[in-house]
């Protein structure tokens, strides 16, 4: 601590707290010094707290997430976060992530790893097969209805909006009528 810091200590009745606050600030500054500052939004509830995220490129080519904090400029949260938002780093970087595509055959008792290519092919074949098996071109009253009755899609409350729109477009393109997300439940 320099002379200015000592002066602040002497001038304040509760100098220790001030010093601690200052050293915390310095530590915080060092933590994010030279880091890239990016903007995000909390992934949990729909208050939509704005986040600032700091990252640093490492020499091995990977990106390290240093810190996530509330965005002080945001009219939504003015920098504040709840316990969930404040621990968002533990959702962002987690050893519990699913590492690779996993497949479980009918009646199997365990997962097996599968390549992306094989998995996406299998899913595509299933979609085509179920679509063809359950597609209704014309209903009992002679109306053109062009719908796939035997496939459902549900989800999306954690999607970016653009992904959600894209999912709707593709599923309707496949003729799906069973299309749902968290808003219902």
């Amino acid at each position: 601590m320099g002379v200015a810091g000592a002066g602040a200590l002497a001038a304040s009745g509760l100098g220790f707290d001030d010093a601690l606050a200052k050293s915390t600030q310095i530590k915080q500054k060092l933590r994010i010094e030279g880091a890239k500052e990016l903007h995000s939004v909390c992934p949990y509830c729909a208050v939509g707290c704005s986040l600032v995220a700091y990252t640093r490129a490492k020499s091995n080519g990977t990106t390290e997430l240093l810190q996530i904090e509330g965005d002080p400029d945001s009219p939504v949260n003015e920098g504040r976060l709840c316990p969930k938002g404040a621990t968002a780093m533990q959702l962002a970087v987690s050893p519990r992530r699913v590492e690779s595509p996993l497949y479980r055959a009918a009646g199997a008792t365990r997962w097996q790893k599968m390549s992306w290519d094989e998995m996406l092919d299998k899913i595509a074949k299933n979609i085509k097969s179920s679509r063809d098996a359950t597609f209704v071109t014309t209903d009992g009253n002679g109306n053109t209805v062009n719908r796939t009755e035997g496939i459902a899609f549900a989800g999306g409350a954690a999607f970016s909006s653009e992904e959600g729109y894209f999912a709707t477009k593709l599923m309707r393109g496949l003729g799906l009528v069973h299309l749902e997300q968290q808003a219902r439940v």
């Binding site: 997430l65 992530r97 459902a152 999306g156 909006s161």
Partner: protein, 817 residues
């Protein structure tokens, strides 16, 4: 959201988080914002601390919201129609409504057709065999010359909405309210006095709610009863007012807007129905109809432009005038295809495949055991998620014999929100753009890349093998640099839409056409990504409040972007009087300055002079041009009425012969399976479910800090009941319903307590929903969380309008283990 659209024209939170600071009185029902939306709650506290606003919290549990409220009312879960109905009655009987607003901005003056009636709990048109209403009599008497609705601005006509409403709610006396809700008469009268002040033009109240109102077989009407009260008090469209739905997930609003929902297309266009052959037939059946000469009927008038422009965005050159813009390519559902219907169809063996993304059916329920059976009847299940879920693992859940489950399961590892860009839309409709902060972890891929890649593979299969009606699959537009890796920036531009003749991004949905020369992915987002760029990225916030929020109302017009057209408070024409002056000069929404509207972005033509006798009415999305106190857009009644939950310990004090909703959808019964409803003899306690601050649904079971903060599944048991049963705090209990059971710790608390309902003493049990057989807590549990799914208890029934399950009111028994 159905109920808000049926009342005001759009289904979304009318104001926004920061706006709550502008209120004088805050009613909170079916919500616990201090714990479920803690950072949003700062704006409630600002209202209280900065302007002396009062907070009234009506909830089954005393929570941290109650702790800072000026009044806490212990209310029986699901009885809020009686509470709001009682307030409506008080306001009407004592002439405390906002007179000019009610006459001019609501349908109070509209005359209802002869033949409408309400008797012994049933509205006219009921068909008991089908459990549905024929709603023909719930409409206006029309002028034969113009076709417009008849009105009586004196509000004296016996069939005026105003008089019918007064009559309908006259039964909701303070004593009746108390008998239904359990709120003591004296407390209710205190609330009524406070609420009664809010019809003065210089006062404004907000109603804030969450899924505590939605999750009932009367959910739509619970919300509509609050909405009707807000119209009577003249509080809609105003800063500090509104009906404010607090949504629970980061982008539930955006993805409702973009129609991951069986009954709509993007921008709340209705999904076409069988029998509609042309755009014209579709619009005639779907769009609101102009029913007053001063109604703009903006939505109805432009419906075909929005639909045709979306068909152009989706099907490109294949959407032509001579093929009705490929209208046949849009699937037309036979009947309801909502959440519970998916599992109902699976149980019937009619659903082959299910794709889940960021949503775990096994935990969400309702009736988790039945849902698990349904998952086991699928041929295939795709789970797209970053982390394992109770759905990806259902086939080897504790107690399940994996070999007997014949479903093929795919676990597809996806990226997180932080590994991709794109926008999140909060409850207040603010669309905020995110940066991609991190690259994808390991092998994870973006959801939209997975979907794009699968779609391209399906398309190739149709090209090589042929199959059923491949035309829409072939025609669907993929105007992206890489068809298997579209950028979210490209998709955001597509959503906004463009003029095909100039190739330019459109600045407003007013520019959309129905001749095939414009596109939009979702018309309510037109204006979000214009030639000026992506407006969702804007960041002019509280770093300079004077410059960025000049009115001080908290609009922050250059922070992100909100639909529609960056309006921050919807229906804001109603914030000003007939002359265009704000009802309260200290809290202006928009103001007529003699040549244009200033303030917020007007929800109205920007230069329409309010003194022009031909000027439009304020609720531009409704055919009437006004807010609906009486609405024929709800299939369970034009006025909200109290019905008991499907499982209730008491008969409805208003009409015991028609106790529960006569039109709630009983899935099991309709499918020929036995209804599994419990009665109060076997299951004497009311239960309700909710969330905790430290968890978000189920995903946070993977977050160590949050699991440390709330490590263990529990239920909250009222202190008095625990004493009766000899249950001590922390002991294990079994909570059972007709459908399943929980075995968890008891948290004995005075936050819950006995109520007197219909002369009987009843207890309510509280059940947090966050635990299951997947996650850190389950990993460390000897029983692997086998009996931790809260929704094992909940009934498989739905609200008549939205088919929302009754998660928040059902019957259980409690035993000490």
């Amino acid at each position: 959201m159905v109920s808000l659209a049926a009342t005001f024209g759009r289904g979304a939170m009318t104001n926004h988080w920061r706006d709550i600071k502008n209120a004088d009185l805050i009613l909170i029902n079916g919500a616990n914002p201090a714990e479920a939306h803690p950072v949003g709650f700062q704006w409630f506290m600002r209202a209280k601390l900065d302007r002396g606003a009062k907070i009234i919290h009506a909830d089954p549990r005393f929570t941290r919201t109650s702790a800072v409220a000026d009044m806490y009312l212990r209310i029986r879960t699901g009885s809020d129609v009686a509470y709001f109905g009682g307030l409506i009655n008080y306001v009407l009987q004592n002439n405390l409504f906002h007179d000019a607003y009610v006459r001019n901005y609501t349908n109070a003056s509209f005359i209802v057709k002869d033949g409408y009636s309400f008797k012994d709990g049933l509205f006219s048109g009921y068909d008991a065999s089908k459990r549905t209403y024929n709603i023909a009599t719930w409409s206006y008497e029309t002028d034969s010359a113009t076709g417009f609705a008849m009105r009586d601005l004196t509000l004296q006509h016996p069939r005026s909405v105003f008089q019918l409403m007064k009559q309908h709610y006259s039964r909701y006396t303070p004593e009746m309210v108390s008998s239904i809700t359990g709120i003591p008469v004296a407390d209710f009268k205190k609330v009524a006095e406070l609420v009664g002040q809010m019809g003065k033009p210089d006062k404004v109240m907000t109603i804030v709610y969450a899924v505590g109102l939605t999750h009932h077989t009367t959910g739509g009407q619970l919300i509509r009863s609050g909405a009707a009260l807000q119209l009577l008090l003249g509080n809609m469209g105003r800063p500090g007012g509104g009906m404010n739905a607090e949504r629970g997930h980061a982008n539930i609003q955006g993805n409702t807007d973009h129609a991951i929902s069986w009954e709509i297309l993007p921008g709340y266009l209705r999904i076409p129905a069988p029998g509609q052959k042309t755009i014209a037939e579709y619009v005639a059946a779907s769009a609101p109809k102009k029913s007053d000469k001063n109604s703009w009927n903006f939505f109805g008038t432009n419906y075909s432009k929005f639909m045709v422009s979306t068909l152009k965005a989706w099907f490109g050159d294949a959407a032509k005038k001579d093929n009705e813009f490929a209208f046949d390519f849009i699937p037309k559902p036979a009947s309801n295809a909502s959440w519970m219907t998916i599992y109902d169809q699976a149980l019937k063996g009619k659903m082959e495949g299910l794709i889940l993304s960021g949503m775990t059916a096994a935990s969400i329920g309702p009736d988790s055991n039945q849902v698990r059976d349904a998952l086991g009847k699928l041929k295939w299940l795709v789970v797209m998620d970053a982390l394992p879920t109770t759905s990806s693992e259902f086939w080897h859940a504790p107690g399940v014999d994996a070999a007997s489950v014949k479903t093929e399961v795919f676990m597809v590892p996806t990226t997180h929100w932080i590994e991709k860009d794109g926008s999140f839309v909060n409850s207040g409709r603010w669309s905020q753009w995110k940066d991609q902060v991190l690259p994808p972890e390991g092998q994870a891929r973006h959801d939209h890349w997975i979907l794009a890649d699968v779609f391209q593979r399906v398309k190739k299969l149709y090209q090589s093998q042929g199959g059923k009606f491949p035309d829409p699959v072939m025609a669907l537009t993929f105007n992206y640099k890489d068809a298997t890796k579209p950028e979210l920036d490209e998709i955001a531009k597509e959503i906004n839409g463009k003029d095909l003749t100039t190739g330019k991004q459109l600045a407003s949905f007013a520019l959309l056409k129905d001749d095939g020369t414009t596109t939009t992915g979702d018309w309510i987002y037109t204006g979000s990504y214009t030639e000026a760029g992506n407006l969702m990225k804007r960041r002019q916030g509280v770093q300079d409040p004077k410059a960025n929020d000049p009115t001080g109302m908290g609009f922050f017009a250059n922070w992100a972007w909100s639909w529609p057209l960056n309006r921050r408070v919807m229906y804001n024409r109603a914030s000003a009087d007939l002359d265009g002056k704000p009802w309260d000069a200290t809290r202006p929404g928009i103001t007529w300055d003699g040549s244009k509207w200033v303030g917020d972005v007007p929800d109205y033509p920007p230069t329409m002079d309010p003194h022009d006798p031909a000027s439009w009415l304020p609720f531009i999305m409704n055919g009437e041009g006004v807010g609906r106190l009486f609405s024929n857009s709800m299939i369970d009644g034009p006025f909200p009425e109290h019905y008991e939950p499907v499982e209730s310990p008491v008969a409805n004090p208003l009409h015991p012969a028609n106790s529960a909703s006569p039109v709630a959808f009983l899935y099991d019964q309709a499918a020929g399976r036995p209804n599994r409803f419990g009665d109060a003899k076997e299951f004497p306690y009311i239960a309700t479910s909710y969330r905790l601050t430290e968890h978000e649904h189920y995903v946070t079971q993977h977050v160590p800090h949050l699991v440390q903060l709330q490590p263990k599944a529990f239920v909250e048991i009222p202190y008095e009941l625990a004493n009766e049963k000899g249950i001590k705090n922390g002991e294990q209990v079994r909570v059972s319903s007709k459908r399943g059971k929980l075995e968890v710790a008891a948290l004995v608390t005075k936050r819950l307590g006995a109520l007197t309902v219909a002369g009987q003493k009843v207890y309510q049990i509280g059940i947090p929903i966050h635990w299951g057989y997947v996650g850190l807590s389950a990993d460390s549990d000897p029983g692997k969380g086998r009996y931790w799914l809260a929704n094992a208890l909940t009934p498989f029934v739905g609200d008549a309008n939205a088919r929302t399950p009754e998660f928040k009111a059902f019957l259980v028994n409690v035993e000490k283990l």
